[in-house]
Symmetry: C2
């Protein structure tokens, strides 16, 4: 076990750099901050590359040493520096970045799927992945020009749901085409005259739901590929719902037959 006390140490600098998308891609690793996420990773059989803890946390949990050969004892100051958390729990782990660039295969074309089209806010993306997990969805595909799914804020909002379902980045147009080959409905979420109330949607065991960008909604290209558009009837004077709230309402309607 190595003890690190300075934020200028090269290991510490590298962990800090994992906050950037570029360095995560270069190294193929990302950081999990806190007990909940580290435990979720361990329980899911994810390889722990490096374990980072304060002296108290490492002493209180001697079993952690068996997880990896690379254990680092750090100060609270170092922990704060690498996690960007005001009161970190004193435990973190570096784990492999999954290969998210998945091309759909037949095995994937089953179950409920959530497609995110250029959703910008990391909290929204993370919350929707967490909600998809709770709704029993099989997976989430995030389009290019969305918030990066392994950024610290998305990781925090997902609360470990990346270990429970399939999480990919990809070309949604291609995914939609493949879902169509198995006759699975693709539900868009743009309000237009042909849209039908979400209460009337009765999908089977395989379908996809597309949520669009916070300000602009879904792209026209994707919209032209949907089999139906769903809307949530608004009763008050509010003009719209938060995208993560809308996604929750829709997913817990569509999951009835999953």
């Amino acid at each position: 076990m190595e003890k690190l006390t300075s934020i200028h140490n090269q290991h510490v600098k590298n962990w800090k750099k994992l906050q950037t998308k570029k360095y995560r891609r270069q190294t193929g690793m990302y950081l999990l901050d806190g007990w909940h996420l580290v435990n979720e990773a361990v329980q899911s059989g994810v390889q722990i590359l490096q374990l980072i803890g304060t002296s108290e946390q490492l002493a209180a949990h001697p079993d952690l040493n068996s997880l990896t050969d690379e254990v680092y004892e750090v100060t609270e100051e170092v922990m704060q520096h690498i996690t960007d958390t005001v009161t970190p729990q004193g435990i973190a782990a570096v784990v492999p970045l999954p290969d998210a660039h998945k091309v759909p295969d037949m095995e994937s074309l089953h179950g409920g799927w959530l497609f995110l089209d250029r959703v910008q806010d990391p909290g929204n993306v993370g919350t929707m992945v967490r909600t998809a997990d709770a709704a029993g969805f099989a997976g989430v595909v995030v389009s290019h020009r969305s918030a990066d799914i392994f950024s610290p804020k998305v990781i925090r909002s997902m609360q470990g749901s990346q270990f429970h379902l399939k999480l990919y980045e990809g070309d949604l147009a291609k995914w939609i085409e493949d879902f169509k080959t198995v006759n699975a409905p693709i539900y868009g979420t743009q309000l237009n005259p042909q849209a039908k109330s979400f209460r009337d949607a009765e999908p089977g065991k395989t379908f996809a739901l597309i949520m669009g960008n916070e300000g602009q909604g879904m792209s026209d290209q994707l919209l032209s590929q949907t089999t139906a558009n769903l809307y949530i009837p608004m009763r008050g004077q509010a003009e719209s719902l938060n995208v993560a709230v809308s996604a929750g309402i829709l997913m817990f309607q569509l999951n009835k037959n999953l």
Copy 2:
């Protein structure tokens, strides 16, 4: 019209202080930032006490001058200072703080109501008020020790919904008692053996839904007062849903008969 260019001007200092709960209470005023909120206030007949704009915005909308005698032209720097927004739209208004300390009356005991029990996050509180508006609820009552409903972050998340429904602070125990006198169901949201699936709830035109604190859920006292507890069946491995997402799923189920 007065022109203000310094953040040390007394007016500017006072507007900045409206970001604190204490000063909002002292003065009985709060600040609306941006076109959407200012327009919502005007359309709702809310009195504009002071109008604050950059020279471009005031020049582009000469009709604004008729709204109030107190119009202030400020620099973009001043606007940024008072709104805490990186790229403010250049328009803001000071409006009266409604008297939110409402004791329930017979008129209020009608429609769908959302009760928030010590919800801490301003974004969650604001999003739930906005969702209640979209769901056609009559009002929202926020308990003491919740996020302040007129703080800048709550105002931003509400997106003007405070002008569309009744929004009060109050003693939820008292509100519940009064709803019981008209035999309206009070739905709690704590998972326990007696809880029933939200899909089986069929309220009439008057009911209340209680959402609890993000970490601790509802208080035991309120829980003992509910007529039923609702839960959202989780299908995946996620342990919980974001409180604002849960509230959205529940409100758009309960509003079917509103």
